[in-house]
Amino acid sequence: MDRINQYLKTVPTWIVYLLGALPAVWIVFDGLNAIDPVRAIEWGLGLWAVRLLIATLSISPLRWAGLNLLRFRRQLGLVAFAYVVLHFAAWLTIDMGLRWGQILQDLYKRWYILIGMSALLLLIPLAVTSNNASIRRLGARNWNRLHKIAYLATGLGMIHFLMVGKVYTAEVLTYAAILVVLLALRVWRNGLRSLTPV
């Protein structure tokens, strides 16, 4: 494990952006061949947003287990945020066709859209402060408190994912279970307060 961690120190962090872009490229190219490209692309981007948010929250538990990927967490979180934004953009454009009347109605009438939208909004301050200058300006303590919003945002994203289907499929329940385990690990190790900003 130490050798892996030593090796990881030599890997440039921008690799995460490069690798992170690959699923999006694949989603679009594969989606264009689907019977319903709109659904394939919108769904694929949302699915990868959930996967990458969960991956970002896995960094700490993995470190407790000995694998240190902390260097890549910022990049991973930003890539996850990009998928959330792309998923939202796909909903606005290719799915809703910019029907603003219906979009606005959905935003205040539909719980799952409201919840997904809240997750996106909550992630904005995290994305904006994902840089060294912000850590200096806020101070490490405050910055850490702010970034605990990631748990809430990922939880809301997961609820959005659970609510969007007509039934709970094995796939969506698997992601929900992984997220519950990740959060439970934190509580088990650091107590319930580790999940809250105060």
């Binding site: 019977i35 490209p37 692309i41 219906q102 539909r110 799952y112 609510m163 007509k166 499929t169």
Partner: protein, 299 residues
């Protein structure tokens, strides 16, 4: 030397002509496949049908899996022949019928119908089948029969989705007798002039084009005439989201999403949405069935 295009916007094929050309090709193809026996029904839409590929690879048929591509992938091993259908309840001629006997003497027709899924997407499908009313008349309902109930076959070995209790199998649907007798209501046995593919509900399924797609029950093995409103699968699953009637209605939203508009499958990535029509555009044929009814309460 720089290249100067000598083509102008005026040279582009007008969209109307382009769409028209597509429609001519598609309808000619459909007519060819359907053969000369089936005349154009006055109930058929003039819209261009979706392609056979689209109709047979984008299906909600949870018996074969929850993903739209699952039915096409998993229905290959399903055995739709021989097929028998149980007819029971308040009916003069109950019994277990071979499918051929059940439909013998009934007129096969082609019906090109709009198909609107409760998930707010839609297609145009060229079905072949018989009017349900003709079968009902042949079987002879007793006076007390006010509803008709249908059940899908249960074969977990052939239908992998049934190996998990994702829905309460068998899939169940039902219609009020006047809905069942409406000339739009079809028992489909084919599409595009071919036998119904397994993933589309082989060998026999219901088609009620003014209702959301989940009413159109597939692989029917039981038809019951009853005096009480039958239980229906999605209503049992989530009664606040899926009613017995399930009429397409742009004014009554699904609790979790709007039904005001729909996406037409095959229209392309940037086609956007089109307005959903009351009763999916079949008001002239079916609105009278519901006169005086509160369609918000009876969703």
């Amino acid at each position: 030397m720089t290249y100067k295009p000598d083509l102008h916007w005026s040279d582009v094929t007008p969209q109307a002509a382009f769409l028209n050309r597509r429609q001519i090709i598609v309808t000619a193809g459909a007519a060819l496949l359907a053969g000369p026996a089936l005349a154009k029904s006055p109930y058929s839409t003039d819209d261009a049908p979706n392609s056979f590929e689209e109709i047979t690879n984008y299906n909600n048929y949870y018996e074969f899996g929850t993903d739209k591509a699952d039915p096409a992938a998993n229905a290959g091993g399903f055995n739709a022949s021989p097929w028998s259908v149980v007819v029971d309840g308040l009916v003069d001629k109950p019994g277990t019928y071979d499918l051929g006997d059940l439909l013998s003497g009934l007129t096969q027709e082609e019906r090109i119908y709009r198909f609107r899924c409760v998930e707010a997407w839609s297609m145009i499908v060229p079905w072949q089948g018989v009017q349900l009313s003709s079968l009902i008349e042949k079987l002879g309902p007793k006076p007390g029969a006010r509803f008709i109930a249908f059940e899908t076959v249960v074969r977990p070995k052939e239908m992998v989705g049934q190996q998990r209790a994702i829905l309460d199998w068998p899939y169940r649907e039902g219609l009020r007798m006047d809905e069942a007798m409406n000339p739009l209501t079809l028992l489909a046995t084919g599409l595009y002039g071919k036998d119904l593919p397994n993933q589309n509900g082989a060998p026999i399924r219901l088609v009620t084009p003014w209702k959301y797609g989940f009413k159109s029950i597939k692989a029917i093995v039981k038809i019951s005439f009853t005096d009480t409103m039958p239980q229906t699968t999605w209503n049992m699953m989530a009664a606040n989201e899926y009613g017995f009637y399930a009429n397409v209605n742009p004014q009554v939203d699904h609790p979790r999403w709007s039904q005001a508009s729909e996406r037409r499958i095959g229209a392309g990535l940037f086609a956007g949405r089109q307005d959903t029509l009351m009763f999916n555009g079949y008001s002239d044929q079916v609105a009278s069935l519901y006169s005086g009814m509160d369609l918000v309460a009876n969703y």
